[in-house]
């Protein structure tokens, strides 16, 4: 789910149904009329093909850099339409495309009314736009477990803009983005509603407690923008091509697991893959040795500590008794 763009309540549920007759709102449109007029003037004045691209974008950005510009969809979901011009210009999209490339309908001002009612429809529309150039990724995605779920009609499954911000496309290469990948995947994979609905395992919780997850969490404390050295979700599972672990083509399928480990642990021994507890909670059926050690210490620590406390209290009370009786100076 796109953390940046949506107006969903924290648990991921969409808000209540739209009431009939409500139209897409262009919020605070009136306030930007002077700006829009200025932008229109820029478009008219900046003639010539060489300057067309930049000036087109400038016309759009004349309004769309205002902080807090939101679209409220009929479903009451909110989409931010504020663009950071610096980040957009620095991204491959900003260098190669104009706003109109992806938003051809919106060259007119005022923009025509949106044809979608919900955020999901909005995302699907965006995904169709992405696919016009990123056909390779779209093909990978359609083969993935997420792509299959999309075809099966499940509307909780991430689409392009759930993970990517097309107006800041370079962000995916940054350390900050990498460090946030567990939380990004956790938007769904830590959400109780989605875990329950699809019978998912609590992979986010187990990741955040095992070595890689702990390292990533702690690394971010002092180095939020540096790429965490420990594995994040995508290092093992892939990105657009994530498959179910039971799929023989999955990187985390038992047959491929050691190869995947050796991406980061090139000298890993033959039994190394079993060091990974596969997001399972240790128990009699999963990593039993870990479970036995847990039980051992959960018995040993209270027993020893209890025994030592008892002896200490006895020692102190004997001393105090002797003092009270006057048998100890």
């Amino acid at each position: 789910m796109p953390v940046r763009q949506i107006g969903r309540s924290p648990d991921g549920r969409t808000r209540g149904p739209s009431y009939s007759g409500e139209r897409v709102q262009q919020v605070r449109f009136v306030r930007f009329v002077p700006l829009i007029l200025a932008a229109a003037a820029v478009i008219l004045l900046a003639g010539g093909p060489a300057g067309a691209q930049n000036s087109d974008n400038e016309a759009c950005l004349a309004c769309h850099t205002a902080p807090g510009m939101n679209l409220t969809l009929p479903s009451t979901e909110v989409v931010s339409v504020t663009i950071d011009p610096k980040r957009f210009a620095a991204s491959p999209h900003g260098k190669a495309l104009t706003c109109a490339t992806c938003h051809p309908a919106n060259v007119e001002i005022p923009h025509p009314a949106l044809t979608v009612n919900t955020l999901r429809e909005f995302q699907k529309q965006a995904t169709a736009v992405c696919q016009t150039c990123h056909a390779d990724r779209a093909e990978q995605f359609s083969q993935s477990v997420h792509g299959r779920a999309v075809r099966m009609g499940f509307d909780d499954v991430p689409l392009c803009t759930s993970c990517h911000n097309p107006h800041d496309a370079a962000r995916v290469t940054s350390g900050a983005y990498r460090n946030n990948i567990p939380q990004m995947c956790g938007t769904c994979h830590a959400a109780a509603r989605i875990i329950e609905k699809y019978g998912l395992r609590p992979v986010y919780e187990s990741y955040s407690q095992e070595f890689h997850g702990v390292t990533t969490t702690l690394y971010k404390l002092t180095t939020p923008a540096g790429p965490a050295p420990a594995a994040v979700c995508t290092d093992c599972h892939g990105e657009h091509d994530i498959r179910a672990a039971s799929d023989p083509a999955s990187r985390v399928n038992q047959a491929n697991l050691l190869t995947t480990c050796r991406q980061c642990h090139p000298t890993a021994g033959q039994y190394f893959a079993a060091a990974w507890t596969e997001h399972k909670t240790p128990g009699p059926g999963a990593a039993p040795l870990v479970w036995y050690v847990q039980i051992f210490y959960s018995v040993l620590i209270p027993s020893v500590v209890g025994f030592l406390i008892v002896l200490t209290v006895l020692d102190l009370s004997r001393w105090a008794t002797d003092r009270l009786r006057g048998t100890r100076p």
Binding site: G269, Q270, A275, T277, I301, D315, W319
Partner: protein, 258 residues
């Protein structure tokens, strides 16, 4: 202080408890144990605010782990030295004091509990090291072996899993954390009480600092050892050196106690 002692008629004769190398070993143990605990606990309790503060204070998780591993090596080297020193002393027939655990220690524990609850009037006669000290010693031996083994497994899991099943890596992680917690709690409760907070020795037992113990206290706390030494030689000859220059019993426990 020394003059006061003479005034009260208290003996200042002492007996050697720990040699200088042993006391240096103890200082190395103090330093490495504390640094390892300070850099290890935030990793065990990574989800707490105090853990985050310590990690930020030390400059990040990678530096915390570097420090932790450096002092782990220090402790392992110290442990190897200790084992070597014990073996060398055995081979040379030198006396190091009996840390061996025997049935007598069980009897002493029961006897001491009986004394503490008031079932008997006197403490059992302890040897050079009583059961409390033997417990601590063997806890350190056991703990160091467990911590070193599990720590090394986590340090080089790639190598270990060439021969051993992978599940020992997460198992080592659990054992490392559990053993660490046990060791820290044992030190806070047991060692701090027996070596620092016991009313008759507060604020600290000077034996590990000066290497020496008052004959009078030896007689009271380690009677078997006292009797063994007095059989070997005359009490006056027990003390090879005069009393340590520094006061061994600060104001908190005035002369005449015990």
């Amino acid at each position: 202080m020394s003059a006061e002692m003479v005034d009260t008629g208290k003996t200042t004769e002492t007996v050697v408890r720990f040699t200088l190398p042993q006391r240096i070993e103890h200082v190395i143990l103090i330093i490495s144990f504390n640094v390892l605990a300070f850099t290890g606990l935030p990793q065990k309790y990574f989800y707490t605010a105090w853990a985050e503060r310590i990690i930020v204070l030390l400059g990040g998780i990678e530096r915390v782990r570097t420090i932790h591993r450096f002092f782990a090596v220090v402790l392992i080297l110290e442990a190897l030295y200790h084992a070597g020193a014990v073996v060398a002393a055995r081979l040379a027939g030198r006396e190091r004091g009996d840390m061996g655990v025997a049935f007598g220690d069980v009897r002493n524990i029961l006897g001491d509990i009986a004394y503490l609850v008031g079932l008997r009037a006197t403490k059992p006669a302890f040897g050079r090291y009583d059961y409390r000290q033997k417990f601590e010693y063997w806890a350190v031996v056991w703990g160091t072996i467990i911590m070193a083994a599990t720590g090394l497994i986590m340090w080089v899991p790639e190598v270990v899993t060439r021969w051993l099943p992978g599940v020992i890596v997460p198992a080592a992680r659990v054992a490392h954390g559990g053993e660490a917690l046990l060791a820290i709690l044992a030190v806070i409760i047991w060692h701090f009480y027996n070596a620092h907070f016991r009313p008759d020795i507060f604020p600290m037992d000077p034996a590990m600092w000066t290497g020496r113990m008052d004959l009078q206290r030896l007689e009271h706390d380690h009677r078997t050892e006292y009797e063994r030494l007095t059989q070997l030689t005359q009490p006056a000859q027990l003390t090879q050196l005069p009393a340590p220059a520094e006061p061994h019993q600060p104001e908190a426990s005035p002369p005449g106690e015990q």
